[in-house]
């Protein structure tokens, strides 16, 4: 009996629990994805209880692949997640560098910057779409209305008026529309997650070597080339972590999509699963398996990337 046996025995309960935790739902999803299973049907009542006699093979997968929005949902997932990642990393880097210098009131500014992260996703979406982006009663509607009023007023001035008469009347943008709903979601999620990036970058900026920077200054390096050649490489690891954690979270966005446009013009795989669970559990399970596959493909790339930056 080697000295590894005891630790292994002690680990067993936890490992078994984790296995059950993961395997039971996964195997049920797999099973449901290969049978006909609906919550209610007046035409085929036998499909209402899960049973092997309703075996369908890959039929559910085929149905999902042919469904109206499947490919759109995958494309759109990738579009939303990438946009949010780019925005949060760029904004997060900028803000973290800005507040790294000490200035009066830095503590308060930091607390204020981080607070969006503590707003619940659903609340975030409701606030943004109703109070900020609404084209009539929201901040956007009021702002566009006042700008139009102001231009109208300026048109009466003797000389300037000619110039302002050339200006168009601005139309507010509806962010619940099919064409714009994805941008609304990107905006609100980026607002919420930029503080997370700032937080991570801020802590690792504090470990940056000041003497290296001083040497660079003496050698005549501009602040911009110091930022590109010293700060950004120093932050490679935290950037990889921010990208990985955020991709995991944003692949499963749901609340914001539901609240902004109910899937009109903006969908991802979790939302598609939600639509199938109205009734068709078989199709919902097949979509779930596709989502697991997609998440794994992305996870492999991300783990490689993070692994690489940790090795360096």
């Amino acid at each position: 009996m080697s000295n590894r046996t005891l630790p292994r025995i002690l680990q067993t309960p936890a490992v078994i629990l984790l296995l059950i935790w993961m395997l039971v739902p996964l195997s049920m999803t797999l099973y449901f994805s290969f049978i006909r299973y609906v919550l209610n049907s007046s035409i085929r009542p036998e499909w209402m209880s899960p049973s092997l006699s309703n075996w369908r093979g890959f039929g559910n997968y085929k149905y999902v692949l042919d469904a109206k929005d499947f490919w759109f949902a995958i494309q759109n997932s990738v579009f939303i997640v990438t946009s949010i990642l780019v925005l949060t990393v760029v904004l997060g880097l900028g803000i973290a560098v800005l507040i790294n210098k000490s200035f009066p009131g830095r503590g308060i500014v930091r607390v204020l910057l981080i607070s969006p992260f503590f707003v619940m996703p659903a609340v975030n979406a409701v606030l943004w779409i109703n109070m900020i982006l609404d084209p009539v009663l929201g901040l956007q509607g009021i702002a566009v209305g006042s700008i139009n009023d102001m231009i109208d007023g300026l048109r009466d001035f003797p000389v300037l008026g000619v110039f302002f008469n050339l200006w168009p009347t601005f139309e507010p943008i509806s962010f619940r529309a099919t064409q714009t709903s994805a941008y609304a979601v990107i905006m609100m999620v980026a607002w919420q997650w930029t503080p997370f990036a700032v937080l991570i970058f801020m802590t690792s900026l504090q470990s940056e070597d000041e003497s290296q920077k001083e040497a660079a200054t003496l050698d005549g390096a501009s602040p911009w080339s110091q930022f590109i050649n010293l700060t950004v490489p120093h932050l490679a690891r935290p950037i990889a972590i921010v990208v990985m954690i955020q991709s995991i979270f944003h692949l499963s966005l749901y609340a914001e999509i539901e609240i902004v446009s109910r899937g009109s013009g903006n969908k991802n795989l979790p939302y598609l699963i939600g639509e199938f669970t109205n009734n068709n559990i078989g199709a919902a399970s097949a979509t779930g398996i596709f989502a697991v596959i997609l998440a794994n493909i992305i996870a492999i790339f991300l783990l490689r990337m993070v692994g690489k930056s940790l090795m360096d």
Partner: protein
């Protein structure tokens, strides 16, 4: 560690006391309700019921969509979380047929014949009542009398759609923040499709043909959707594709809408004094242009407290309950649940405060949910089949895309037809 032990202890004691309570013979009912005004009020009015009978009531109040999801999966899988559930007119006949909810029978005092026939029919399957209506509604036109007079237009009962559009155009004044017509546009089978289906009905269209094949590319649908997109796109507020009942109510109460065609229940929330009512526009189709909806209470099959649940439903949908709300110090006659019983509309105190009562009752009585030659399914603004929510949501997104200009009406209807066809053939209809 201490706190953990205390929590565990507390939990154990909680479980122990719950089982003691059950052993004592105190009944506790868990009731899932939708979180709108009348139901929220019920929680308070029912305190008297607990005091009288000793039955403890445990309320779970959820948003409409969440409630539907929770209650469906709980009932379908026999979860048994709830003793009483709030369901709508779309679910009641289907769930009754599937044996998920128990048939309801009440004593003579309940006076089941007092129930409005449209409601009773809509909540029954093959003549058996499966859910008791708590409040019911239809749809009607609510418009600003001061604006129509200033614009020199009128809106009559069951007016033609052309006239309604002309009136909307005359009242439309976006520079001063007034929009001619505020209508539902937010995707959802119970949101934009509720209104859109009534328009389609009035143009003579239907969701499915006699073989239950979707008929969404018919001339009637094309005419109706073109009209809807034209009316709301040109004379509606910006952002209409995100507006449903609550959003439009907010706009209306900010004096931004000339007219609004929506649930009759809206009338009791309108703050402007110049509101007038008219029956929905119609081109003379027998299905009518009014929708019909009720939030009703049902008992899931196999509830251990089935008898107590029946008793509670009998009380909560009785004439006595209407009186209890009317005489309640916090509520009064303006807040009684309407649309269920003919006797409610005969109460003088109610007539005095509810100016919309006559219009509402007329709208409910003119709605015809039964299957006809035009449509093979039960339901006015929906089809009472289990697959409808899926079909309805898919089409709703396409109509919203047409409204926001991302697709043409023809493209949107072609995509709708393809999606609906896939869902119906998947479900085994053909």
């Amino acid at each position: 560690m201490t706190s953990l032990r205390n929590t565990a202890l507390g939990l154990a004691m909680g479980i122990a006391s719950a089982s003691v309570a059950a052993a004592d013979g105190h009944t506790e009912l868990t009731i899932a309700i939708v979180n709108n005004g009348h139901m929220i009020n019920m929680q308070k009015v029912a305190e008297a019921y607990t005091a009288d009978t000793g039955v403890a009531l445990n309320w779970v109040s959820l948003e409409e969509g969440v409630l539907r999801e929770q209650v469906t999966s709980d009932t379908a899988t026999g979860g048994g979380q709830y003793d009483i559930i709030n369901i709508g007119m779309q679910e009641a006949p289907i769930w009754g047929a599937a044996g998920w909810i128990e048939p309801l029978e009440f004593g003579a005092e309940y006076d089941v014949d007092d129930m409005l026939p449209a409601m009773r029919n809509g909540l029954s399957h093959e003549g058996t009542l499966y859910a008791a209506p708590f409040y019911g509604e239809s749809s009607m036109v609510m418009y600003r009398k001061d604006l129509t007079e200033a614009a020199g237009v009128t809106i009559a009962d069951n007016d033609s759609w052309d006239n309604v559009k002309a009136a909307a155009a005359a009242m439309h004044d976006p520079d001063n923040g007034v929009y001619g017509a505020c209508l539902r546009g937010k995707p959802g089978w119970g949101d934009n499709m509720a209104f859109v289906t009534t328009v389609v009905n009035s143009f003579g269209g239907a969701w499915f043909d006699a073989d239950m094949r979707p008929a969404l590319e018919s001339d009637e649908w094309k005419a109706a959707i073109n009209f809807y997109v034209d009316l709301l796109g040109n004379y509606g507020p910006p952002g209409s594709e995100g507006n449903s009942f609550n959003e439009i109510l907010a706009l209306y109460n900010e004096d931004k809408c000339g007219m609004w065609i929506d649930a009759t229940i809206a009338a009791s929330f309108l703050e402007n004094d110049n509101v007038a009512y008219a029956q929905s526009p119609n081109a003379g189709n027998p299905v009518g242009a009014n929708w019909l909806w009720a939030w009703a209470m049902a008992v899931p099959t196999g509830s251990p407290n089935s008898e107590a649940a029946h008793d509670f439903i009998e009380w909560a949908t009785s004439k006595a309950y209407i009186q209890a709300v009317g005489n309640h110090p916090d509520f009064g006659w303006g807040s009684v649940p309407t649309g269920t019983r003919a006797s409610t509309y005969a109460i003088p105190e109610f007539q005095a405060v509810a100016k919309f009562a006559a219009a509402e009752m007329a709208a409910i009585e003119s709605a015809a949910p039964a299957a006809t030659d035009i449509k093979p399914y039960v339901g006015v603004q929906f089809a009472a089949i289990p697959e409808f929510p899926e079909v309805g949501s898919a089409v709703a997104q396409e109509i919203a895309a047409a409204l926001s200009g991302a697709k043409s009406v023809d493209e949107a209807l072609a995509a709708s037809q393809a999606a609906a066809d896939a869902i119906m053939s998947e479900a085994g209809y053909y």
